[in-house]
């Protein structure tokens, strides 16, 4: 999917994800040209407790909701959004 250089993206965890990983932010090294869903796989390897939490999770890049196949850039903020429950 990508060339073999790496890039860094800043991942944000909330709610069940935050509790599963024990952190609210994480600097992830991913291959350059990685898509949002590729980062999820990298994160599940790093935090096995995230497994099972994919259902209903949406992605936001730099505070905007995006499709799972969105290509990321160096320095992007990728937020994993579990099912929302405001109000």
């Amino acid at each position: 999917m990508v060339d073999d250089r790496d890039m860094q993206v800043r991942v944000r965890f909330f709610a069940a994800h935050r509790e599963a990983t024990g952190q609210s932010a994480y600097e992830a090294d991913v291959p350059a040209g990685a898509r949002a869903r590729d980062v999820w796989r990298v994160l599940v390897e790093r935090f096995p407790t995230l497994d099972g939490h994919a259902s209903g999770t949406a992605y936001a890049v730099n505070q905007t909701v995006v499709p799972a196949d969105t290509v990321l850039s160096e320095g992007d903020e990728l937020a994993l959004l579990p099912p929302m429950a405001g109000g």
Binding site: F14, A15, Q63, V65, A79, P82, A85, G86, G87
Partner: protein, 138 residues
């Protein structure tokens, strides 16, 4: 006081309503969401709200801009609470002002529906069976 805000302290319902009330507004419709003592058949003792703050205020602003485009309303304010809330406390206050009541009702309804669908806010429910993150389809 800002039109769109997250707050860690109790929401000021009257203050939010005052934010939108200008001299040309004949009607203000307000929705206040409160922590209920039960939900989905379980009893609830408290809720804990968490948000993605950098994104929430942009989403609130986008929802309000859409509502103003769709309905003839003059101003919308949306405030949401964060942290632990006891039963009866207000979790959200949405106030909409308009010259006429019909668009005010419609825009307020639109705003709360969209907030529940797409504002990056989560809640943990505390009850007799323990605590869990709520996943509800609006």
């Amino acid at each position: 006081m800002k039109l769109f805000a997250l707050s860690s302290t109790p929401l000021d319902e009257k203050g939010v309503s005052a934010l939108v009330s200008g001299s040309g507004s004949g009607g203000v419709v307000t929705f206040v969401g409160r922590v209920r003592d039960h939900a989905r058949g379980r009893s609830v003792s408290a809720l804990e709200y968490e948000a993605y703050p950098e994104m929430v205020e942009a989403v609130f602003g986008a929802i309000a801009a859409e509502a103003r485009q769709r309905f003839d309303v003059s101003a919308i304010a949306i405030h949401h609470r964060l942290g632990r809330l006891e039963v009866g406390e207000a979790s959200v206050v949405i106030a909409v002002a308009a010259a006429h009541r019909s668009p005010a009702f419609e825009a307020c309804r639109y705003a709360i529906d969209e907030l529940k669908r797409r504002a990056p806010i989560w809640k943990k429910e505390f009850g007799p069976d323990g605590a869990f993150w709520v996943e509800e389809r609006p």
